[in-house]
Amino acid sequence: MDFDLNEDEAALQEGVRSFCAGRFDMETVRSLADSAGVDRGRWRELADTGVFGLRLPEADGGVGLGLTEAVLVFEELGRAVVPGPILASHLAAGLVDGALSGDRVVGLVERPAHPVLVEHLDALDALVVVDDEGLHLVEADAISGEPVGRPLDPWTPLHVVADLPAGQVIGGPEDAARWRLEGAVLAAAQLLGIAGATVELGTAYAKEREQFGKPIGTFQAVKHILADMLTRAEVARAAVYAAGVTLDDPSVGDPARAAHGAKLIAGEAGIANGKACIQVHGGMGFTWEVDAHLYLKRAFVLDTVFGSGDVHAEAMAALV
């Protein structure tokens, strides 16, 4: 048992972190609101970095890693609030042409749902519909939707789609179940990234911002907010990393239980920390200019992906 990053994992984490810092800095991320969250050039760079083919065998053009490593990569993508259907394209790589190379942008939507809200539709080439029967591939130009005028997260634009075409079956019920489990863990990893990034953002501000003649981080009322944020992030980290490892090797635990717990806890951590980060920033935190709201809004989006907190709490209860 050795439950911390090994050398390769640490190098992977560091590599993705510096890639995001260089290619998805906050200014770039903010600019992506103008293109439905996706810039084709940057999207191919994500593909070249191996984000989509991470878990495909090397023989199929992938990187040949597992969910343990994917969790670390998606944590970094969450930390950088990289927008776009990265999780969908990652899951679709190897199954949908062009997803692996980044030549085609692939999204996903879960069913049954009412209304059906499709993310990033204007940037998509194809959409995978996930339901109990399996996976269904629909070409994006076959989908007509009504855009939502003011999406909660402007970097995750939404369309209301009244009639989803049937599409082509590309996977059965087991594939859909696997997507749901893996997707929950990877969304949880992004939420973990948000939970961690907001601790850093809030802490940096509390050290620099002065009131009453002192940095506000001197005051216990502020300190304790930040300590609680770190606690949420570290508990979520343990849960999410354990879920990644457990899905790779079910001999160490129950993958479903690990995934439900991870998504539940990381969802709460992402949302609570996003909110707390704004609180630490005071009035400035409520402005568009300060980045804190990007994290909170993305956390709200990700919490709904592959099951919100209530869904996973109910699933945990069934496993107690």
Binding site: D2, N6, K223, V235, A238, A313
Partner: protein, 396 residues
């Protein structure tokens, strides 16, 4: 990251489980009267002796001093399997095994080690802790109990509080002020105090659950040989803190694992308790809250594995200990409240009523109140996390 146990670790588990299955049926239940300290001492030290005879005493103590020298993973296996099988707790041996003993291992002279460590491992020596004082709680370093040199003895006057097992302890790890003029952390010494020394007055304190878990201990011209000092004079603060690096992030792990069993029992009870035309389990809100606590406890178990890994890599426990304690306290409060929701009126009884199985949950509800206070309050833990991990400025 790897959560698998090695073949050696699994062999350790198999051997342990085989022994536990063999001996636990011969070990009776703990004394029913929690205020009968003689019975508690007899029960807990008998279990310690059994562990000693089987080579499990001092599971994480180094082999040089007679410990098992188990790896961190084996230590977790030991905690997991003893808890799962309902083995006795460390009980009155906790200060000796988890705090005073490790301090002696790190800092004591060869003579001091020889006088105490083997006896602790055999269960022949029970220790208590004299650290906190009525005026020195969270601000422990402001302690005032004085030790004045008189030839080759210290003369001690003052008082200590929150001293567990004082009634039955043979020795006390005692922090005293030896230099009242030095800065508060620099004038403290660490002494081995035999509890049969004249001038010690023990007054039990009744705690919220109604038991006498702690005592106040008064010292009136108590004379202790200078030879009983561990470490240099006025270096006692460092000596006391050294022990925390021994801990490896396993504090509270046994009871955290016990909490998982409480959740399972609570879910089972909720499925039986009548509510309207169905059971309490039909309440989706209650169900989800139980699911949430289960998820939190799973996450804490994973966090323990991270903490133990980090401690074994670096030799010192990481920040995870405070994080674990903060979250565990909070989860236990929630679990206690959930018990009250499930049992309703039966949640007003510490004893089982009408076969409901409410007792352990109501006990847990009251115990949870102490967790966010003992061993560093939640507020102090938050300061530690904010200042030592996040690097925020001190205001004190």
């Amino acid at each position: 990251m790897d959560l698998r146990y090695s073949a050696e670790e699994e062999a350790f588990r198999a051997e342990l489980v085989e022994w536990l299955d063999e001996v636990l049926p011969t070990v009776g239940p703990p004394p029913g009267n929690q205020n009968d300290w003689d019975a508690r001492r007899a029960y807990d030290t008998a279990w310690q002796r059994m562990l000693f005879d089987q080579g499990y005493a001092g599971i994480n103590w180094p082999t040089e001093v007679g410990g098992r020298g188990a790896s961190p993973a084996e230590h977790l296996i030991f905690l997991e399997e003893t808890e799962r099988r309902g083995a006795p707790y460390v009980g009155v041996m906790f200060v000796a095994l988890l705090h005073a003993g490790p301090t002696l291992i790190a800092e004591a002279s060869p003579e001091q080690k020889a006088a105490h460590l083997p006896a602790i491992l055999r269960g022949d020596q029970v220790w208590c802790q004299g650290f906190s004082e009525p005026q020195a709680g969270s601000d422990l370093a402001s302690l005032r109990t004085r030790a004045v040199r008189d030839g080759d003895e210290y003369v001690i006057n003052g008082s200590k509080i929150w001293t567990s097992n004082a009634q039955v302890a043979d020795y006390c790890e005692l922090l005293v002020r030896t230099d009242p003029d030095a800065p508060k952390h620099k004038g403290i010494s660490w002494l081995i105090l035999p509890m049969d020394t004249p001038g010690i007055d023990i007054r039990p304190l009744r705690s919220v659950p109604g038991t006498e878990e702690f005592s106040e201990v008064f010292f009136d011209d108590v004379r202790v040989p200078v030879a009983n000092r561990v470490g240099d004079e006025n270096d006692g603060w460092r000596v006391a803190m050294v022990t925390f690096s021994f801990e490896r992030g396993t504090a509270f792990v046994s009871e955290m694992l016990a909490s998982m069993q409480l959740v399972e029992q609570l879910a089972a009870a909720a499925k039986k308790v009548t509510r309207g035309s169905g059971t309490a389990w039909d309440d989706a809100g209650l169900r989800r809250d139980i699911g949430q606590v289960a998820a939190d406890l799973d996450a804490l178990w994973a966090l323990v594995k991270r903490n133990v890994t980090q401690a074994s890599r670096t030799g010192v426990p990481g920040p995870g200990g405070s994080v674990f304690k903060l979250h565990y306290s909070e989860v236990r409060h929630r679990l206690g409240l959930l018990g009250e929701r499930v049992f309703e009126r039966a949640g007003l009884a510490l004893d089982d009523v009408a076969g409901m199985g409410n007792g352990p949950h109501v006990e847990g509800l009251l115990h949870a109140i102490s967790i966010s206070i003992a061993a560093g309050t939640t507020q102090i833990q938050r300061n530690i996390v904010a200042e030592r991990i996040l690097g925020l400025p001190k205001d004190r």
